[in-house]
């Protein structure tokens, strides 16, 4: 029995959680962390939504890698998402592999779901989070904040539960996955499914998962998170621990060595089936489609304040995607701020040192309390 608040919390809720794809999930496991203290009228809660391979360890050390939380630049005492001021909740999304219900969870028959786990959507993740917040006694959120897939959840929150979200921060994200986004994900999924160890997802019993396939998926995806300029500055054509090309297929180039390392280390902390499920959820995401083809309809009558940030070197979810959301919000009259920040790190900029991002988030959140 763990506490309801604090680090490394787990709870199983009865559900059922009705799913966009039909059917339901019950019961639903949640792994989450909270930081700070919920005030007496429960009005200072901020929900943090993590990205594709993120997790609940937003500001505490990761149990597998031992590395600091993924957003310690943004979350903590005195940081823009100030844990002295706000009560921060960060749940692991359903479909993932860090403790919330996912393909590695046990089904009714006591065996892992594997590919029997239902295909889920971003909105399913959001509805699950709403269940968890109900359990925690939080009705209205001071803010929902997320980058990348986290931003998709934020925008889905604002559309699904407009009265529960006072402020929404959507960073380096999109209201729909483009053909190019889907294409890159499909490369990753095919790499996993082509690995003979995948075995239609039933690899949990002997612990020999499709590591090679998952590593390739991560390598392909990782390229999309960086800018060409960033790759060139970091690696150029420099060779890895050697003076000359080997005329073979070792990792001659530093960039090859780096990507191989990224791929391999990823397999230590992530489940291949979860990667399939979550990328699918992202590919299915198209908020306009859920609202009769008009994105503005998703926000009609919304009282939520919005803040969107994009980065000039992000080619995964470029500025045009954020502008698309801004136009819809303008059309529906919602209060919206938007800025494209300059940063050299590509899509990953939202996780890295961009002082203007901290300034914008800090000011926007504080203004929500006025």
């Amino acid at each position: 029995m763990t506490s309801r608040v604090g680090l490394d919390c787990n709870i199983t809720l009865a559900g059922p959680l009705a799913l966009d794809g039909g059917g339901a999930l019950a019961p639903v496991d949640f792994a989450y962390e909270t930081y700070g203290t919920l005030n007496a009228d429960a009005s200072n809660a901020i929900l943090l939504c993590h990205a594709l391979t993120g997790d609940q360890y937003v500001a505490s050390d990761h149990p597998v890698t031992g590395k600091p939380g993924w957003w310690t630049r943004m979350v903590g005492p005195g940081k823009p998402i100030d844990t002295d001021r706000y009560f921060v909740v960060c749940p692991n999304v359903i479909g993932s592999c860090m403790g919330s219900s996912g393909p590695a969870s046990l089904a009714e028959d006591g065996k892992p779901y594997g590919m029997r786990f239902p295909v889920i959507t971003i909105r399913d993740m959001v509805r699950a989070q709403a269940m968890l917040l109900d359990h925690l006694g939080i009705d209205r959120l001071y803010a929902v904040v997320g980058g990348s897939m986290g931003g998709m959840q934020v925008i889905s929150w604002a559309a699904t539960y407009p009265t529960r979200v006072a402020s929404a921060v959507i960073i380096a994200s999109t209201a729909r996955h483009s053909a190019q986004n889907i294409a890159f994900h499909e490369v990753g999924r095919q790499a996993i499914m082509a690995d003979p160890n995948w075995r239609s997802g039933e690899y949990y019993a002997d612990g020999k998962g499709p590591d090679a396939g998952l590593a390739v998926a991560r390598m392909a995806a990782h390229i999309t998170y960086l800018s060409e300029q960033g790759l060139t500055e970091k690696f150029g054509r420099r060779l890895q621990n050697r003076d000359a090309k080997t005329f073979g297929f070792d990792a001659d180039f530093q960039v090859e060595s780096y990507l191989r390392h990224q791929g391999l280390s990823f397999t230590d902390r992530f489940d291949a089936n979860s990667y399939l499920y979550i990328t699918r959820a992202m590919d299915y995401f198209d908020l306009a489609e859920e609202h009769g083809g008009h994105l503005a309809n998703a926000f009609r009558g919304s009282a939520t304040r919005f803040c969107l940030v994009s980065f000039d070197t992000d080619w995964l979810y470029p500025t045009s995607e954020s502008r698309n959301i801004v136009h819809a919000l303008n059309a529906s009259g919602a209060p919206v701020s938007f800025v494209e920040l300059s940063a050299p790190f590509g899509h990953d900029s939202f996780l890295l040192d961009v002082p203007d991002l901290n300034r914008v988030v800090d000011g926007f959140l504080k203004a929500g309390g006025q």
Binding site: P335, S337, D362, G363
Partner: protein, 196 residues
């Protein structure tokens, strides 16, 4: 509002309380903040420079990074009581089209601009034979953002051609109001309130 630039102070004084306002080219948000704090205005802004946008958002203002030449088209018709364009008209690609957009998204519009026919500008050109560099036009021709210099009379002619009504006009010499008489000669700066 004493800290506001004189043309902005006029606009801040004239905007009706509790209205919806779009400030196009809002800079660091000084006018928006004044309107919000002193007139309970629902103020939105558009600004080209990302550092200014970040500054505005950090002040709690709703500002989007955008270009008056392009992004005004994305607002629905009549979305605002006022659209404001201060010291920006002369920097736009097509001032006439921007004016049309202003009065499409706003029921009324404030437009302020430096008057290129002010006597100092005229003298400078007449006697110096060079493109004038004055207090309100301090940047040399090759690097000024002012690509469409305009005079009070030019502006009146454009407004007439576009069938736009002038609801009010204020003229500034230095930081002081000056009379409308011979404004094209005597005013350094003009503020117009327009409607359809």
């Amino acid at each position: 509002m004493t800290a506001l630039r004189p043309d902005l102070a006029i606009i801040a004084r004239e905007v009706a309380a509790g209205t919806r306002v779009l400030d196009v080219g809002c800079g660091d948000g000084a006018l928006m903040a004044a309107l919000r704090d002193e007139k309970q205005v629902d103020a939105r802004g558009m600004e080209l420079d990302p550092a200014n946008v970040a500054e505005c958002v950090a002040r709690g203002l709703s500002v989007i990074q955008g270009d008056a030449n392009i992004d005004l088209a994305d607002y629905p018709e009549g979305a605002f009581d006022y659209a404001i364009l201060s010291q920006t008209l002369q920097t736009t690609m097509r001032p006439d089209l921007v004016m049309e957009q202003l009065l499409r998204v706003g029921r009324k519009a404030f437009v302020s601009f430096p008057n290129f026919a002010h006597w100092r500008v005229r003298l400078s050109l007449l006697w110096g034979g060079r493109m004038p560099v004055t207090r309100l036009l301090p940047i040399a021709w090759y690097e000024t953002p002012n690509i469409h210099h305009v005079t009070v009379d030019d502006f009146r002619a454009l407004v007439r051609d576009q069938g736009i009504k002038v609801e009010g006009a204020w003229f500034l010499s230095g930081d002081r109001l000056t009379s409308a008489a011979a404004a094209n000669f005597r005013a350094e700066h003009a503020v117009f309130l327009l409607s359809r």
